[in-house]
Symmetry: C2
Subunit: 208 residues, 2 copies
Amino acid sequence: MYKRLLEIPVGVSGRHVHLTPEHFHKLFGPDASLTKLRDLVQPGQFAARETVTVVGPKGVLENVRIIGPLRDYTQVEVSRTDCFKLGVNPPVRDSGDLEGTPGCVLIGPAGIVTLERGVILALRHIHMPLEEAKRYGFKDKDVVAVEVNGERGIIFQNVLVRVQSDAALEFHVDTDEANACLLTSGAKVQISSEQLLIRQPLALGLTG
Amino acid sequence: MYKRLLEIPVGVSGRHVHLTPEHFHKLFGPDASLTKLRDLVQPGQFAARETVTVVGPKGVLENVRIIGPLRDYTQVEVSRTDCFKLGVNPPVRDSGDLEGTPGCVLIGPAGIVTLERGVILALRHIHMPLEEAKRYGFKDKDVVAVEVNGERGIIFQNVLVRVQSDAALEFHVDTDEANACLLTSGAKVQISSEQLLIRQPLALGLTG
Protein backbone atom coordinates (compact mmCIF):
# COMPACT_ATOMS: atom_id res chain seq x y z
CA MET A 1 0.00 0.00 0.00
CA TYR A 2 1.26 3.48 -0.80
CA LYS A 3 2.20 5.59 2.17
CA ARG A 4 0.57 8.49 0.47
CA LEU A 5 -2.89 7.03 0.87
CA LEU A 6 -2.81 7.93 4.56
CA GLU A 7 -5.13 10.93 5.07
CA ILE A 8 -4.13 13.20 7.93
CA PRO A 9 -6.37 15.75 9.69
CA VAL A 10 -4.89 19.23 9.95
CA GLY A 11 -4.44 21.18 13.17
CA VAL A 12 -3.64 24.88 12.71
CA SER A 13 -1.76 26.24 15.73
CA GLY A 14 -2.35 29.89 16.54
CA ARG A 15 0.26 31.72 18.57
CA HIS A 16 0.41 30.27 22.09
CA VAL A 17 2.63 29.82 25.13
CA HIS A 18 3.64 26.89 27.30
CA LEU A 19 4.59 27.76 30.88
CA THR A 20 6.46 26.17 33.75
CA PRO A 21 4.58 26.09 37.08
CA GLU A 22 7.03 28.71 38.42
CA HIS A 23 6.34 31.15 35.54
CA PHE A 24 2.60 30.48 35.68
CA HIS A 25 2.43 31.44 39.35
CA LYS A 26 4.58 34.51 38.83
CA LEU A 27 2.13 35.67 36.12
CA PHE A 28 -1.17 34.61 37.75
CA GLY A 29 -0.41 34.52 41.49
CA PRO A 30 0.65 31.83 43.96
CA ASP A 31 -2.86 30.44 44.43
CA ALA A 32 -3.95 30.46 40.77
CA SER A 33 -4.57 27.31 38.78
CA LEU A 34 -4.73 26.78 35.03
CA THR A 35 -8.33 26.20 33.87
CA LYS A 36 -9.53 24.45 30.74
CA LEU A 37 -11.30 26.32 27.94
CA ARG A 38 -11.41 23.36 25.56
CA ASP A 39 -9.62 20.10 24.80
CA LEU A 40 -7.19 19.96 21.90
CA VAL A 41 -6.91 17.00 19.53
CA GLN A 42 -3.73 15.69 21.17
CA PRO A 43 -4.78 13.64 24.25
CA GLY A 44 -4.38 15.54 27.54
CA GLN A 45 -3.56 18.89 25.88
CA PHE A 46 -5.97 21.79 26.32
CA ALA A 47 -6.42 25.49 25.53
CA ALA A 48 -6.60 27.33 28.85
CA ARG A 49 -8.92 30.20 29.70
CA GLU A 50 -5.86 32.16 30.84
CA THR A 51 -3.93 34.35 28.40
CA VAL A 52 -0.81 36.50 28.62
CA THR A 53 0.60 39.54 26.83
CA VAL A 54 3.81 38.89 24.88
CA VAL A 55 6.14 41.89 24.53
CA GLY A 56 9.05 42.21 22.09
CA PRO A 57 11.41 45.07 21.26
CA LYS A 58 9.06 46.48 18.60
CA GLY A 59 5.55 45.51 19.63
CA VAL A 60 3.04 43.57 21.66
CA LEU A 61 0.73 40.58 21.15
CA GLU A 62 -2.25 40.61 23.50
CA ASN A 63 -4.44 37.72 24.66
CA VAL A 64 -1.98 34.97 23.75
CA ARG A 65 -3.44 31.71 24.95
CA ILE A 66 -1.71 29.31 27.32
CA ILE A 67 -1.75 25.65 26.29
CA GLY A 68 -1.98 23.26 29.23
CA PRO A 69 -0.92 21.31 31.11
CA LEU A 70 2.06 23.19 32.54
CA ARG A 71 5.45 21.90 31.32
CA ASP A 72 9.04 21.78 32.46
CA TYR A 73 9.98 24.58 30.01
CA THR A 74 8.45 27.91 29.00
CA GLN A 75 8.06 28.37 25.25
CA VAL A 76 6.40 31.04 23.08
CA GLU A 77 5.26 29.81 19.65
CA VAL A 78 4.52 32.58 17.18
CA SER A 79 4.12 32.93 13.43
CA ARG A 80 6.67 34.81 11.36
CA THR A 81 3.97 37.42 10.74
CA ASP A 82 3.85 37.92 14.53
CA CYS A 83 7.65 38.21 14.61
CA PHE A 84 7.63 41.32 12.43
CA LYS A 85 5.20 42.91 14.89
CA LEU A 86 7.21 41.84 17.97
CA GLY A 87 10.60 42.62 16.45
CA VAL A 88 12.14 39.20 17.08
CA ASN A 89 13.79 36.76 14.67
CA PRO A 90 13.45 33.27 16.12
CA PRO A 91 14.60 30.07 14.40
CA VAL A 92 12.40 27.16 13.32
CA ARG A 93 12.54 24.63 16.16
CA ASP A 94 11.03 21.42 17.41
CA SER A 95 9.19 21.89 20.72
CA GLY A 96 11.54 22.15 23.72
CA ASP A 97 14.69 22.79 21.65
CA LEU A 98 15.31 26.31 22.95
CA GLU A 99 19.11 26.72 22.94
CA GLY A 100 19.99 29.98 21.18
CA THR A 101 16.42 31.22 20.74
CA PRO A 102 15.46 34.85 21.51
CA GLY A 103 13.62 35.88 24.65
CA CYS A 104 10.71 38.23 25.32
CA VAL A 105 8.65 39.58 28.21
CA LEU A 106 5.38 37.99 29.38
CA ILE A 107 2.79 39.98 31.30
CA GLY A 108 0.03 38.41 33.37
CA PRO A 109 -2.51 39.84 35.82
CA ALA A 110 -0.22 39.20 38.82
CA GLY A 111 3.26 39.78 37.45
CA ILE A 112 5.87 39.90 34.73
CA VAL A 113 8.33 37.24 33.52
CA THR A 114 11.44 38.13 31.54
CA LEU A 115 12.52 35.22 29.35
CA GLU A 116 16.15 35.01 28.26
CA ARG A 117 15.08 32.51 25.58
CA GLY A 118 12.03 30.53 24.47
CA VAL A 119 10.54 32.21 21.36
CA ILE A 120 10.34 29.86 18.35
CA LEU A 121 8.70 29.30 15.00
CA ALA A 122 7.32 25.77 15.38
CA LEU A 123 8.75 23.11 13.09
CA ARG A 124 5.78 21.69 11.19
CA HIS A 125 5.21 18.06 12.09
CA ILE A 126 2.88 15.10 12.04
CA HIS A 127 1.77 13.46 15.28
CA MET A 128 1.37 9.78 14.42
CA PRO A 129 0.12 6.98 16.68
CA LEU A 130 2.19 3.77 16.73
CA GLU A 131 -0.58 1.85 14.99
CA GLU A 132 -0.71 4.08 11.88
CA ALA A 133 3.08 4.22 11.78
CA LYS A 134 3.32 0.41 11.66
CA ARG A 135 0.50 0.05 9.17
CA TYR A 136 1.87 2.64 6.72
CA GLY A 137 5.59 1.98 7.26
CA PHE A 138 6.70 5.16 9.04
CA LYS A 139 9.17 5.48 11.87
CA ASP A 140 9.85 8.25 14.37
CA LYS A 141 11.82 11.20 12.89
CA ASP A 142 11.02 10.33 9.28
CA VAL A 143 10.96 13.46 7.11
CA VAL A 144 8.15 13.57 4.56
CA ALA A 145 6.52 15.89 2.05
CA VAL A 146 2.86 16.79 2.58
CA GLU A 147 0.54 17.80 -0.21
CA VAL A 148 -2.23 20.38 0.09
CA ASN A 149 -4.58 20.62 -2.88
CA GLY A 150 -6.71 23.48 -4.11
CA GLU A 151 -6.38 26.91 -5.59
CA ARG A 152 -3.36 27.73 -3.44
CA GLY A 153 -1.99 24.18 -3.56
CA ILE A 154 1.35 23.67 -1.83
CA ILE A 155 3.71 20.81 -1.16
CA PHE A 156 5.36 21.18 2.24
CA GLN A 157 8.85 19.65 2.32
CA ASN A 158 10.75 18.80 5.50
CA VAL A 159 7.79 17.67 7.58
CA LEU A 160 8.92 15.79 10.68
CA VAL A 161 7.02 12.63 11.68
CA ARG A 162 6.74 12.09 15.41
CA VAL A 163 5.59 8.56 16.25
CA GLN A 164 4.13 8.51 19.76
CA SER A 165 2.10 5.85 21.56
CA ASP A 166 -0.34 8.44 22.98
CA ALA A 167 -0.69 10.68 19.89
CA ALA A 168 -3.72 11.43 17.74
CA LEU A 169 -2.99 11.53 14.00
CA GLU A 170 -2.60 15.23 13.12
CA PHE A 171 -0.55 17.52 10.84
CA HIS A 172 0.46 20.65 12.78
CA VAL A 173 1.19 23.90 10.95
CA ASP A 174 1.20 27.50 12.11
CA THR A 175 -1.13 30.22 10.85
CA ASP A 176 1.28 31.51 8.16
CA GLU A 177 1.66 28.01 6.73
CA ALA A 178 -2.11 27.41 6.87
CA ASN A 179 -2.99 30.79 5.35
CA ALA A 180 -0.47 30.36 2.53
CA CYS A 181 -2.54 27.41 1.22
CA LEU A 182 -5.96 28.21 2.74
CA LEU A 183 -5.84 25.26 5.15
CA THR A 184 -8.17 25.09 8.13
CA SER A 185 -8.22 22.78 11.13
CA GLY A 186 -9.94 19.50 10.36
CA ALA A 187 -9.12 19.53 6.62
CA LYS A 188 -7.35 16.42 5.33
CA VAL A 189 -3.93 16.26 3.70
CA GLN A 190 -1.81 13.47 2.27
CA ILE A 191 1.81 12.50 2.54
CA SER A 192 3.27 12.76 -0.98
CA SER A 193 6.51 10.92 -0.41
CA GLU A 194 9.31 10.52 2.09
CA GLN A 195 10.65 13.73 0.58
CA LEU A 196 10.35 15.11 -2.92
CA LEU A 197 13.79 14.96 -4.47
CA ILE A 198 12.98 17.87 -6.68
CA ARG A 199 16.61 18.63 -7.45
CA GLN A 200 16.55 15.57 -9.74
CA PRO A 201 15.16 16.56 -13.13
CA LEU A 202 11.57 15.41 -13.36
CA ALA A 203 10.09 13.71 -16.38
CA LEU A 204 7.37 16.30 -16.69
CA GLY A 205 7.16 19.94 -17.53
CA LEU A 206 10.65 20.20 -18.94
CA THR A 207 11.40 21.40 -22.41
CA GLY A 208 14.72 19.78 -22.24
CA MET B 1 17.71 23.75 -21.61
CA TYR B 2 15.50 22.98 -18.64
CA LYS B 3 12.91 25.59 -17.80
CA ARG B 4 13.72 25.04 -14.18
CA LEU B 5 17.14 26.57 -14.53
CA LEU B 6 15.58 30.03 -14.71
CA GLU B 7 16.24 31.80 -11.40
CA ILE B 8 13.57 34.29 -10.38
CA PRO B 9 13.92 37.09 -7.81
CA VAL B 10 11.19 37.17 -5.18
CA GLY B 11 8.99 40.16 -4.40
CA VAL B 12 6.99 39.88 -1.18
CA SER B 13 3.86 42.06 -1.33
CA GLY B 14 2.67 43.45 1.96
CA ARG B 15 -0.95 44.53 2.26
CA HIS B 16 -1.64 47.49 -0.02
CA VAL B 17 -4.33 49.32 -1.95
CA HIS B 18 -4.74 50.55 -5.51
CA LEU B 19 -7.04 53.55 -5.95
CA THR B 20 -8.95 55.24 -8.73
CA PRO B 21 -8.36 59.00 -9.06
CA GLU B 22 -11.92 59.56 -7.79
CA HIS B 23 -11.38 57.53 -4.63
CA PHE B 24 -7.94 59.04 -4.06
CA HIS B 25 -9.34 62.57 -4.10
CA LYS B 26 -12.24 61.61 -1.83
CA LEU B 27 -9.73 60.25 0.70
CA PHE B 28 -7.00 62.91 0.38
CA GLY B 29 -8.80 65.98 -0.92
CA PRO B 30 -9.44 67.50 -4.35
CA ASP B 31 -6.02 69.14 -4.60
CA ALA B 32 -3.92 66.23 -3.28
CA SER B 33 -1.50 64.28 -5.44
CA LEU B 34 0.04 60.87 -4.89
CA THR B 35 3.74 61.16 -3.96
CA LYS B 36 6.47 58.55 -4.35
CA LEU B 37 8.15 56.93 -1.34
CA ARG B 38 10.18 54.43 -3.39
CA ASP B 39 10.16 52.66 -6.73
CA LEU B 40 9.04 49.03 -6.91
CA VAL B 41 10.75 46.41 -9.07
CA GLN B 42 8.01 46.50 -11.72
CA PRO B 43 8.72 49.46 -14.02
CA GLY B 44 6.59 52.53 -13.28
CA GLN B 45 5.09 51.10 -10.07
CA PHE B 46 5.86 52.82 -6.77
CA ALA B 47 5.04 52.71 -3.07
CA ALA B 48 3.42 56.03 -2.19
CA ARG B 49 4.00 58.08 0.94
CA GLU B 50 0.23 58.15 1.45
CA THR B 51 -1.53 55.43 3.45
CA VAL B 52 -5.14 54.68 4.36
CA THR B 53 -6.98 52.86 7.13
CA VAL B 54 -8.87 49.75 6.02
CA VAL B 55 -11.98 48.88 8.06
CA GLY B 56 -13.79 45.53 8.07
CA PRO B 57 -16.70 44.20 10.14
CA LYS B 58 -14.37 42.88 12.86
CA GLY B 59 -11.31 45.11 12.85
CA VAL B 60 -9.02 47.67 11.34
CA LEU B 61 -5.68 47.76 9.50
CA GLU B 62 -3.87 51.06 9.90
CA ASN B 63 -1.22 52.65 7.66
CA VAL B 64 -1.97 50.52 4.59
CA ARG B 65 0.22 51.78 1.79
CA ILE B 66 -1.09 52.96 -1.58
CA ILE B 67 0.71 51.59 -4.62
CA GLY B 68 0.91 54.07 -7.50
CA PRO B 69 0.18 55.14 -10.11
CA LEU B 70 -3.60 55.49 -9.71
CA ARG B 71 -5.62 52.90 -11.67
CA ASP B 72 -9.03 52.50 -13.21
CA TYR B 73 -10.17 50.25 -10.35
CA THR B 74 -9.83 50.35 -6.55
CA GLN B 75 -8.48 47.13 -5.03
CA VAL B 76 -7.42 46.14 -1.51
CA GLU B 77 -4.86 43.31 -1.37
CA VAL B 78 -4.52 41.68 2.04
CA SER B 79 -3.12 38.46 3.46
CA ARG B 80 -5.38 35.79 4.90
CA THR B 81 -3.90 36.62 8.31
CA ASP B 82 -5.20 40.18 7.81
CA CYS B 83 -8.62 38.79 6.83
CA PHE B 84 -9.12 37.19 10.25
CA LYS B 85 -8.46 40.58 11.82
CA LEU B 86 -10.74 42.46 9.39
CA GLY B 87 -13.48 39.84 9.43
CA VAL B 88 -13.66 39.38 5.65
CA ASN B 89 -13.34 36.24 3.54
CA PRO B 90 -12.14 37.27 0.06
CA PRO B 91 -11.31 34.88 -2.76
CA VAL B 92 -7.91 34.38 -4.41
CA ARG B 93 -7.94 36.60 -7.50
CA ASP B 94 -5.76 37.96 -10.25
CA SER B 95 -5.44 41.75 -10.12
CA GLY B 96 -8.51 43.58 -11.43
CA ASP B 97 -10.82 40.54 -11.31
CA LEU B 98 -13.17 41.91 -8.64
CA GLU B 99 -16.61 40.46 -9.49
CA GLY B 100 -18.10 38.91 -6.35
CA THR B 101 -15.37 40.08 -3.96
CA PRO B 102 -16.22 41.58 -0.56
CA GLY B 103 -16.05 45.29 0.15
CA CYS B 104 -14.68 47.32 3.05
CA VAL B 105 -14.37 50.94 4.18
CA LEU B 106 -11.30 53.09 3.50
CA ILE B 107 -10.48 56.12 5.64
CA GLY B 108 -8.12 58.89 4.59
CA PRO B 109 -7.30 62.29 6.08
CA ALA B 110 -9.95 64.05 3.96
CA GLY B 111 -12.75 61.53 3.70
CA ILE B 112 -14.20 58.03 3.71
CA VAL B 113 -14.88 55.64 0.83
CA THR B 114 -17.27 52.70 1.15
CA LEU B 115 -16.35 49.93 -1.29
CA GLU B 116 -19.02 47.47 -2.38
CA ARG B 117 -16.27 45.17 -3.62
CA GLY B 118 -12.51 45.10 -4.14
CA VAL B 119 -10.90 43.06 -1.34
CA ILE B 120 -8.83 40.12 -2.61
CA LEU B 121 -6.12 37.64 -1.72
CA ALA B 122 -3.65 38.10 -4.58
CA LEU B 123 -3.08 35.13 -6.86
CA ARG B 124 0.64 34.40 -6.70
CA HIS B 125 2.29 34.98 -10.04
CA ILE B 126 5.46 35.50 -12.00
CA HIS B 127 6.04 38.68 -13.97
CA MET B 128 8.11 37.62 -16.97
CA PRO B 129 9.58 39.82 -19.71
CA LEU B 130 9.05 38.65 -23.28
CA GLU B 131 12.76 37.92 -23.71
CA GLU B 132 12.98 35.43 -20.80
CA ALA B 133 9.69 33.85 -21.88
CA LYS B 134 11.03 33.18 -25.36
CA ARG B 135 14.40 31.98 -24.16
CA TYR B 136 12.97 29.52 -21.60
CA GLY B 137 9.88 28.46 -23.54
CA PHE B 138 7.08 30.03 -21.48
CA LYS B 139 3.93 31.69 -22.72
CA ASP B 140 1.43 34.05 -21.07
CA LYS B 141 -0.96 32.27 -18.62
CA ASP B 142 1.24 29.19 -18.20
CA VAL B 143 0.74 27.62 -14.79
CA VAL B 144 3.93 26.42 -13.13
CA ALA B 145 5.23 25.06 -9.82
CA VAL B 146 7.85 27.10 -7.97
CA GLU B 147 10.34 25.59 -5.57
CA VAL B 148 11.61 27.28 -2.42
CA ASN B 149 14.48 25.54 -0.69
CA GLY B 150 15.59 25.60 2.93
CA GLU B 151 14.43 24.55 6.32
CA ARG B 152 10.81 25.42 5.56
CA GLY B 153 11.06 24.33 1.93
CA ILE B 154 7.84 24.53 -0.07
CA ILE B 155 6.73 23.86 -3.60
CA PHE B 156 4.06 26.35 -4.69
CA GLN B 157 1.66 24.86 -7.22
CA ASN B 158 -0.67 26.90 -9.44
CA VAL B 159 1.66 29.82 -10.06
CA LEU B 160 0.44 31.97 -12.94
CA VAL B 161 3.00 33.22 -15.47
CA ARG B 162 2.26 36.68 -16.86
CA VAL B 163 4.38 37.47 -19.90
CA GLN B 164 4.54 41.24 -20.41
CA SER B 165 6.76 43.35 -22.62
CA ASP B 166 7.35 45.93 -19.87
CA ALA B 167 7.78 43.54 -16.91
CA ALA B 168 10.77 42.85 -14.70
CA LEU B 169 11.31 39.17 -13.87
CA GLU B 170 9.78 38.67 -10.40
CA PHE B 171 7.85 36.06 -8.37
CA HIS B 172 5.12 37.81 -6.35
CA VAL B 173 3.80 36.25 -3.15
CA ASP B 174 1.99 37.75 -0.18
CA THR B 175 3.31 37.85 3.38
CA ASP B 176 1.60 34.61 4.47
CA GLU B 177 3.11 32.74 1.54
CA ALA B 178 6.54 34.28 2.17
CA ASN B 179 6.46 33.65 5.91
CA ALA B 180 5.36 30.04 5.45
CA CYS B 181 8.71 29.31 3.78
CA LEU B 182 10.87 32.14 5.21
CA LEU B 183 11.15 33.93 1.86
CA THR B 184 12.27 37.54 1.69
CA SER B 185 12.27 39.99 -1.19
CA GLY B 186 15.29 39.57 -3.42
CA ALA B 187 15.78 35.86 -2.68
CA LYS B 188 15.90 33.58 -5.74
CA VAL B 189 13.54 30.72 -6.56
CA GLN B 190 13.28 28.24 -9.41
CA ILE B 191 10.46 26.95 -11.51
CA SER B 192 10.22 23.19 -10.82
CA SER B 193 7.98 22.21 -13.68
CA GLU B 194 4.93 23.32 -15.61
CA GLN B 195 2.97 21.80 -12.73
CA LEU B 196 3.79 18.90 -10.44
CA LEU B 197 1.39 16.10 -11.25
CA ILE B 198 1.64 14.77 -7.77
CA ARG B 199 -1.53 12.71 -8.02
CA GLN B 200 0.45 10.26 -10.18
CA PRO B 201 2.33 7.81 -7.92
CA LEU B 202 5.96 8.85 -7.75
CA ALA B 203 8.87 6.48 -7.98
CA LEU B 204 10.29 7.62 -4.69
CA GLY B 205 9.27 7.39 -1.09
CA LEU B 206 6.61 4.77 -1.61
CA THR B 207 6.60 1.46 0.20
CA GLY B 208 4.21 -0.08 -2.12
